[in-house]
Subunit: 379 residues, 3 copies
């Protein structure tokens, strides 16, 4: 009474046999509802995640190029140097790829020449006799190399003499208020070209639909002019929740973030820059030993064959332009991969259900469970 048919002939190869789980169909409102409810919930979760995280999309990261151009002039009037006008070449000595520096405060030391002069007095340079100094000595805070001689610094103080650029920069603290607080009104044009290589998509932050006359006059404002690429430095600093007059004294680092979140699908097409500002370095200058941002540069001259220089200790704000970006586009491959990855959750549900069914049947009656053993014929 074995089932015989054409399939039996190919049994050695096992190719025409088909094994599958034996299904049990239970007519039960409770179990049926449970199954459909569970499946429904999972499907809902999967669909919500699909739409929410846009799992059906292929993504690409941005390749970006940034150029910046600062504009503005400032005038200072100090006792030492009289009226001086500062333009962009003076206060922005460095050009960098993704950042620009605007000096807002200066300590200027004019007419430095190579020579010998008394070191600035601090612990370790004070002396009474030549024996307190040592030829060739220098440490981290030195401005020159000691000559081994003890000389008068002023009427009351004697310090070790050093070979250095003389006279030595004397002031420690930057002027308060900052010399170039009017830098607040300087503007910067940021040109940002982006590209999503995978989609061969290019765009720039000067939007094509924007009018030329508008661009000549506009200033970025989050609400009224969110797509103007010209920024007032004061607004940028304020956007980072800082006070320009404060940060101008000792300097700092401000991040200008440009965020491109692009949807390149035909119907939801959108790709616009979003600007945000944030201070990147430590704010509280009293909590740290080395506050703010400053660096030194010099202009070198020669007079009658002797080289001299003007030393500038420039305190200022470095603006780091950081471009983030992601573009998404519908991709059938991504959709299939996502669906595949959700299948295991369905498997989980059917496993759970199996367990439930067995427990259920146990409670009902013992003899109904017995046939489920591998030896049903023995009953």
């Amino acid at each position: 009474s074995l089932p015989r048919g054409p399939a039996m002939r190919c049994s050695p190869l096992n190719l025409c046999e088909y094994e599958t789980s034996k299904l049990v169909r239970i007519k039960s409102v409770k179990l049926g509802s449970l199954k459909w409810a569970l499946n429904g919930v999972i499907l809902l979760v999967i669909c919500i995640m699909l739409l929410w995280n846009k799992e059906y999309q292929e993504y690409d990261l941005v390749v970006s190029s940034v150029t910046t151009k600062v504009k503005g002039v400032a005038q200072t009037n100090t006792a030492d140097f009289g009226e001086v006008v500062w333009d962009v070449v003076d206060y922005s000595p460095n050009e960098e790829k993704n950042s620009f520096f605007v000096a807002t405060n200066f300590i200027v030391t004019k007419k430095q020449k190579q020579g010998k002069c008394p070191e600035v007095p601090h612990y370790g340079t004070l002396c009474r006799t030549d024996n307190d100094c040592k030829k060739g000595l220098w440490d981290i805070r030195s401005h020159g190399v000691q000559t081994g001689v003890c000389v008068k610094f002023d009427v009351t103080t004697k310090t070790c003499e050093v070979s250095a650029w003389c006279p030595i920069e004397n002031t420690k603290k930057p002027p308060r208020p900052a010399l170039l607080t009017s830098a607040e009104n300087f503007t910067v044009l940021i040109k940002n070209n982006i590209r999503f290589p995978a989609f061969n998509f290019i765009r720039r932050n000067i939007l094509p639909e924007v009018d030329g006359n508008y661009l000549k006059k506009c200033i970025y404002n989050q609400r009224t002019d969110p797509y103007c690429p010209i920024f007032r430095l004061g607004d940028v600093v304020q956007g980072a929740r800082e006070n320009f007059a404060d940060i101008a004294v000792e300097g700092g680092v401000i991040g200008i973030q440009i965020n491109w979140d692009c949807d390149l699908n035909r119907f939801f097409n959108s790709c616009l820059p979003k600007y945000s500002f944030r201070r990147l370095d430590e704010k509280e200058s009293n909590r740290t030993l080395y506050p703010g941002l400053n660096f030194r540069f010099a202009r070198y001259y020669t007079e009658n064959g002797v080289e001299s220089r003007t030393l500038y200790k420039a305190f200022g704000i470095r603006f780091d332009v950081m471009v983030f970006g992601k573009a998404g586009k519908f991709s059938i491959v991504q959709l299939i991969i996502y669906i595949g990855s959700t299948l295991s959750y369905y498997a989980l549900v059917s496993d759970t259900n199996q367990i439930r069914v067995v427990k259920q049947s146990k409670k009902k009656s013992l003899q109904e469970v017995k046939p489920l053993s591998l030896h049903p014929r023995k009953v």
Copy 2:
């Protein structure tokens, strides 16, 4: 007639019970073929994806270091300055980590001194009387701070006087053709050292098998010399599908992409740089208000104690060297993870088959389906 054996003794702990799906073996050429065909297709797809995407590999991203060295001299002969020779120090004033700038065009303003002079005439600076000017005023396009006086700019025009570096830079448009069009023949040596930390693998773009004499003379060419690290600037610009004489006038940004796609497996070992070039900024200068790339720098002098400067507005090309890289190596862990992730697709197939079988059996005869209910004994 319950099955009794040694297993019965440990039933309270349930440890020696084993539950599994009851399998149904169907002898059917149709179903058997279907099953094998489906499994075969899935296996094929999985294997193709495995080999195509090299899913059996572990990946690491590149850590890169770039240094560049530009060579070349150019001679200009202008009415204003006579014969001038420009070498790399003159036309490449900035050194940066991953990019270099080559100035190709200049607007030079000599002998600027701090002082007072009439502003360049444009809308807002023209005046008739002193009342049209306002002391302390300046805007984005100003070159200095207004003194409140209206002075003669030339025979026909009067403009507001400003405190500024005088004389003010006058020319707006860059010379055409560019002064240093011969920069096309300059060369740049790009040294790129890469490292894949995960594999402790280092390499440089000056390949070890390349001959020293070859390196002294070679120039990169995509077809004939694809591994020469010395590039002619004209070739780079041409590789980015731009015309050097055009881009030289107003400047621009060109990306030099170095792509390392490395296979570090023993038998397919390959790790060679691939160069490609691309313009990164907007091309059409007429479509945009702020075309090209330029910045200002100055050389400061002092004569008889008075500081003066020569202002250079340099138009030029910034070359951004961008290094991309990925190395793959066979990893048994990756292979297992990949295989694991494909299992859910198999689960899908067996689920689909289950449904198929049930539908099939329904059509055949109703009484054959009935025994599949949970109460087979009641039949």
Copy 3:
């Protein structure tokens, strides 16, 4: 004898039917143990991977900002220039965002003026008569543009005359030992502020618990002072397993890696910087044509209206500060996703078990397998 109940009424919609695999419960110590052993092993592997790779965590990458400040002075005493003191403005002419350059060796060419002079002799510039030279010619190694005249370079050699900055830089090889080997004792303060945007977490490498007096004096040491942000350049180079005196001659690139591996969970909270150093460029100078790192810069002067410059070929070390970072925090969503992704492995086990059971039953007796066919009633 069909099962009848309230479920039958809704059969057309199939909503109250429930299909599940028919389970077989086998009482067998062998199979039961196998099942539990397999499940246990998988659970163990999954749990180990969960804890080891911290799969239960959500991750975010670091956003970083770096500022650096080099300190130190050096004195050189050469036959050409006498005693000269170098401070940071002299030896570190470039400021960059994530890197700083310290010149350690110089070739200085003083008092260059625009003019005509004999080219430095090398292959291609030697000549006997004016016919060997060609007006307007220059190549990669030229220092100027040929005038077409053959002039005396020294008593024995004649070279083509060039329009150039004269006199031409003559020395090829850098001084040995390097002029500023004492740069070894220079120090650099590295300020690194990091941020994990997803967790709104900020931190800096100057740790809040560190004492101000300690910071004033400390020097980084991997064992004794691992959190001091001030580094002695000699230590950094030694940490990269290089000899400072060697690298100082021709220059090189050293990477300073700051690694932030942060655990932001409440109980395992830790977020400390870890420093490591590594040479980024090729070490062996004899294996390569273009060893080390050098670039040229100039200081421009004017005397009696004639511009001149001092040309510096600076060999030195560029220190690239590279910040890597990852922060993890427990995330219930990540845990669910991870558990979901492991389910397919369980599915694999139950599939494997199914096959095992069938094989087992085959061996036992043929008639026990037969009931597994779709037509059990026909037996």
